[in-house]
Amino acid sequence: MLEIRWHSRAGQGAVTGAKGLADVISTTGKHVQAFAFYGSAKRGAAMTAYNRVDDKIIMNHEKYMEPDYVFVIDPALVYTSDVTINHKDTTKYIITTHMTKDELIASQPKLEGKEVYTVDCIKIAQETIGRPIPNTPMLGAFMKVSEMYDIEFFKESMKRILAKLPQKIIDANMIAIQRAYDEVK
């Protein structure tokens, strides 16, 4: 079982990102689950979304999760939410930030000793898609860190999932995914 927790603000696309990732993984024959905690969430409110992936059918519906990966797609949530809650020794963090890894860890000591990867998904999204929607770049970074799928396969799969968007936006997302894949450290 692979488990992922997303930290996001409502409106940044974590739910869409989680469902998109689930959709891609499902096409490879694995079982998936994607869900989120909403509450009476308003745009901009901190929220979490979740993925489960397994070779067997997923029957577990508990919301509690000790994630293998934590995705933080808004840079400020590292300080205002506990992104390390319910962590395991092996939990990996992919965090959106403009800082270097050392600067980030110095600014948030809870990340000390953790396996942390950084990438500036907000900047990448703004420069490619033209809006600060950091969900697809995060998935590009995840492909690099996890080595889950070949990046070309992943981009082709994402094209199908984004098919309802204008071609220009789809193309921009592909560049964003590739950039995050290349730039994550």
Binding site: K19, H61, K63, Y64
Partner: protein, 407 residues
């Protein structure tokens, strides 16, 4: 047909809401009269989009409240159409008056109920308070545990409800957010196969049949009211479960997916069993398997058909179980929980010496964790080892503050 078909992949990653909306599209519903409410909104929103995009030939009626939504469904169903809608929680509560009209008038409407807590305090998350509120309304109630079930049970609901020997409305329940907003793989049917299973709508006593005028929504006082109610109850008690079984059998032949009126998991040699509904059934199944690795013979019973209550099927399922937990996701407010009462009623005149204890859990969407269920199965095993119930009969799982226990 004057509408477009939709190409679906064999497995789509859908949440429970979208799965229900797709099933409604494939059933080609004539009229959806709806007033959206969280967390069921995407069901009627989805149907409306399919309609606007030319995938359904039907009518979407926008109304001013859930009371009006169900009233619109009743009118359309009496006129002679295939009718459905969706609601949750407060919306369901506002519908209650009209729910009794729909069942009393024997109108086969399908209502997707995305289960959500009832205020106060206001809460949009999943529990079974609305499902429990509807349990005496004369509707058939199916319960889904995951998005796949929410998809499949819609077809089955139409097939059973519209059967001329049944002619009763049916609810398809799914857990708010835990199913409705959780995306999982759903095995799909192609449009023709899905529609073929449900079949063309066959009107009965429809008001638009001017050659054969009928009256709907009559008044009967002490002269006839009781006979109508007794006949409705009779049909629920005697006709509905066999029809559901037939529909389950046919559906299995078509899809390979097997549903049962009472779902039994790892029950054959079980000493202890949890009886529950919704997503909790699946989580409990996973925990039961883990308990077996620890040497506790654990099983799970899922209620698939809440109404009519499967009295004899429950007796049969639980006959050899030594300790049973009834899990109710709704505050009984001054009584044992509904499932506790129904199980006690079913088992009371049998030879079973089973120990039955009740648990209230998960109100307002409170998480039911695997850890909770592990403790629960362990507690049931302790009852078996002691030969008596070692706890009060009614306990609360997962509530903060001092431990609450009654009876």
């Amino acid at each position: 047909m004057a509408f477009d078909k939709m190409e679906l992949r064999d497995v789509e990653v859908w949440d429970g809401n979208f799965a229900a909306a797709q099933a409604m599209r494939q059933c080609q519903i004539d009229v959806v009269s709806a007033y959206p409410i969280t967390p069921s909104t995407p069901i009627v929103e989805g149907y409306a989009k399919f309609l606007a995009d030319g995938y359904v030939e039907g009518e979407f009626v926008m109304v001013e409240s859930e009371h009006a939504a169900m009233s619109g469904c009743i009118g359309a169903a009496a006129a002679g159409g295939r009718v459905a809608t969706a609601t949750s929680s407060q919306g369901f509560a506002l519908m209650v008056e009209t729910l009794y009209q729909a069942s009393g008038m024997r109108l086969p409407i399908v209502l997707n109920v995305v289960n959500r807590a009832l205020a106060a305090p206001l809460n949009v998350n999943g529990d079974h308070s609305d499902m429990y509120l509807g349990r005496d309304s004369g509707w058939i109630q199916f319960d889904a545990y995951c998005p796949q079930d929410a998809y499949d049970l819609n077809f089955i609901a139409f097939k059973v409800a519209e059967d001329h020997d049944v002619r009763l409305p049916a609810m398809v329940h799914q857990d708010g957010f835990m199913t409705s907003h959780t995306a999982q793989g759903v095995h799909t049917l192609d449009d023709d196969t899905a529609y073929g299973f449900v079949g063309d709508f066959k009107p009965m006593n429809d008001m638009l049949d001017f050659e054969n005028p009928v009256t709907h929504g009559v008044q009967t006082e002490e002269d006839w009211h009781f006979e109508h109610k007794a006949r409705q109850h009779n049909d629920l008690m005697t006709k509905v479960l066999p029809k559901i079984q037939n529909a389950f059998d046919e559906f299995e032949k078509l899809t390979g997916r097997k549903y049962n009126i009472v779902e039994k998991y790892d029950l054959d040699d079980a000493d202890v069993a949890v009886v529950c509904m919704g997503t909790s059934v699946e989580t409990a199944r996973e925990v039961a398997l883990e308990m077996r690795e620890k040497g506790i013979k654990a099983g799970v019973v899922g209620i698939r058909v809440v109404r009519p209550f499967p009295f004899f099927e429950i007796q049969e399922a639980l006959k050899d179980i030594k300790a049973i937990a009834a899990l109710d996701r709704s505050s009984p407010n001054g009584a044992p929980g509904m499932l506790f009462n129904e199980l006690a009623g079913a088992l009371f005149n049998t030879d079973t010496k089973a120990m039955l204890s009740g648990y209230v859990y998960g109100l307002g969407g409170r998480d039911l964790t695997k850890k909770h269920l592990t403790e629960l199965f362990t507690e049931l095993q302790a009852n078996v080892d002691a030969g008596k119930i070692t706890t009060p009969l009614q306990q609360f799982i997962g509530v903060r503050g001092p431990k609450l226990a009654f009876l």
